[in-house]
Amino acid sequence: MNIFKAKKILLDIVTHGILISVALTCVFPVFWMISSSLKTQEEVFSSMSLIPQTGIATWISNYRTAFVEANFGVYFMNSVFYTVVGVFFIIFIASLASYGFSRLQFWGKSFFFYLLISTLLIPIPGVFVPLYLLLKKLSLLDTRTGLLLCYISNGLAFGIFLLKGFFDELPKEIEEAALIDGCSRFGIYWRIALPLAKPALATLVIMNSLTIWNEFLLALVVLQDKAKMPIQRGLMVFQGTFITDYPLLMAGLTIATIPIVIVYLLMQKHIVKGIAAGALKG
């Protein structure tokens, strides 16, 4: 073995040593959360083992209590509702608009485009204060519609930005042929452009799902009624009431996390693409 090879092996060991220790730091809290959600109250207070000493009966009973008595089942379904409906409308409205911006002529086109995507570049903290007052005036405070309208509106700028870029790159020939064949503009958008945009749509679906599922501040400002709360909001309500019931809280956190982790593991590539697109905008 020559000295270069020995040096390379040593370097590899150091590299993996650093990477593995950081990786363990990343996953440990998540495993700790799952593990604690399977323990009994006494065990959480007495044992610091990562492997719960309980049987499957405790696991089921913990999660049943979390879903039913601690209301996490309701919160979970609300989150599913907000995410599915919100993402659907963001995709539909943003793709319609970006197709218009990319292909069609109308008055004030570039003005409206820059107006719409300006919120990507200008940070507007505290906009939840006037939003609260607006929803109150529209009698949409503490309603599902009110929260959804905020979510949909928030997702539009990035969606339009990403999809317009995508439509701009698509060849126009097929669409022009379809136009000559008498297809309406909406028909072209719906049957030709939208199916071609699938890769960009997938990125948008994932990014917006993550955003809506994880959103907290607007849900805090808009909702008071527990029956309408998404899970992030529900977690804080639960935590405020049963401050030391750690197994149940951890079960709630796990319920809030599992869908995200599954989507993440399946759709990692789209997420990375979306992050890169978001970071290098402007």
Binding site: V22, W32, V221, L253
Partner: protein, 296 residues
């Protein structure tokens, strides 16, 4: 092909839904923020009392808690800029060395950024717990008995730093992914040419990697500043601004004033804070323009 006026107005229907939603739920609230900020108003009364810039003056000169919250967010930002982005850069460089398992590392490092701020905050609150937290358990078994019952999030000295550590834990993977993507755009040929010319690893880093990475590192830094200054979910789930206001940040202050029904005052604070962020994001626009220009 020119569109007829009738066609043009039909075309407008494509953007009408987006434009309507945007104008009502994004644009109008922005304008309203400025308008509200010059009134004293509790959100209920019919009459709003016009006070001009008095609330701005009060926030800037008579509200030490606002400055404290800015400093707190600044502290978190400073730690993130140095430690978090330093770690992100180091890891990106290590993973970029074509080592085994780079996909697994990438997958794991980006796990914390996809979790919600509330979930992360509540897990770590449990880890930090004075009596039942695993952190103190480990510290004590390592012989640091002074940490028996030490409540990290309730002690004035440690609360903010403890939250900042969690913020960095959650955030470094984000910079890591962007930096790694940047590193992978650097052409291998550059390194091969340098190798032929006899440049060692350090010289290659100094003369190829580093200069080409500067624009991307700048973007990551700006995103870090904007993200860290606007920290909210973690603070809300871990300390709610306590102990005694020592972990308040601008957004928690704005929320607090709003909850107390001081709508005018909270929007004035939002405007001031927004102006500070605007300076940072102008820098972002300027730098990414320059970056695009260099690419062409």
């Amino acid at each position: 092909m020119k569109a007829s006026p009738k066609e043009k107005s039909l075309n407008f229907l494509f953007i009408a839904p987006a434009l309507t939603l945007f104008l009502v739920f994004s644009f109008y609230p922005i304008l309203r923020t400025f308008q509200l900020s010059v009134f004293q108003w509790n959100g209920i009364d019919r009459d709003m009392l016009f006070v001009g810039l008095a609330q701005y003056k009060h926030i800037l000169f008579h509200n030490p808690m606002f400055w404290k919250s800015m400093l707190n967010a600044g502290y978190v930002t400073l730690l993130s800029l140095t430690l978090q982005n330093g770690l992100a850069l180091l890891l990106a460089l290590l993973v970029n060395r074509q080592i085994k398992g780079d996909n697994i590392y990438r997958m794991i490092f980006f796990l914390p950024p996809v979790l919600s701020g509330i979930v992360v905050g509540l897990i770590w609150k449990f880890v930090y717990d004075g009596n039942f937290g695993i952190l103190n358990h480990w510290l004590i078994s390592l012989g640091f008995v002074q940490f028996q019952d030490f409540a990290w999030l309730s002690e004035i000295k440690t609360a903010l730093t403890s939250v900042a550590v969690v913020h960095m834990w959650k955030g470094f993977g984000y910079g890591f992914i962007i930096l790694l993507a940047g590193l992978q755009t650097i052409s291998v040929e550059l390194y091969e040419a340098a190798e032929v010319d006899g440049a060692d690893a350090w010289q290659q880093f100094k003369n190829i990697t580093f200069p080409l990475l500067i624009p991307i590192f700048t973007i990551v830094s700006i995103l870090t500043i904007l993200g860290s200054m606007q920290i909210f979910d973690l603070i809300y789930s871990m300390t709610r601004g306590g102990p005694a206001g020592h972990t308040h940040v601008p957004i928690t202050k704005i929320y607090e004033y709003m909850s107390n029904g001081e709508f005018g005052y909270s929007t004035a604070m939002a405007v001031i804070f927004g102006m500070v962020l605007l300076v940072v994001s102008f820098a972002q626009i300027f730098i990414s323009k320059k970056l695009n220009y260099n690419n062409k």
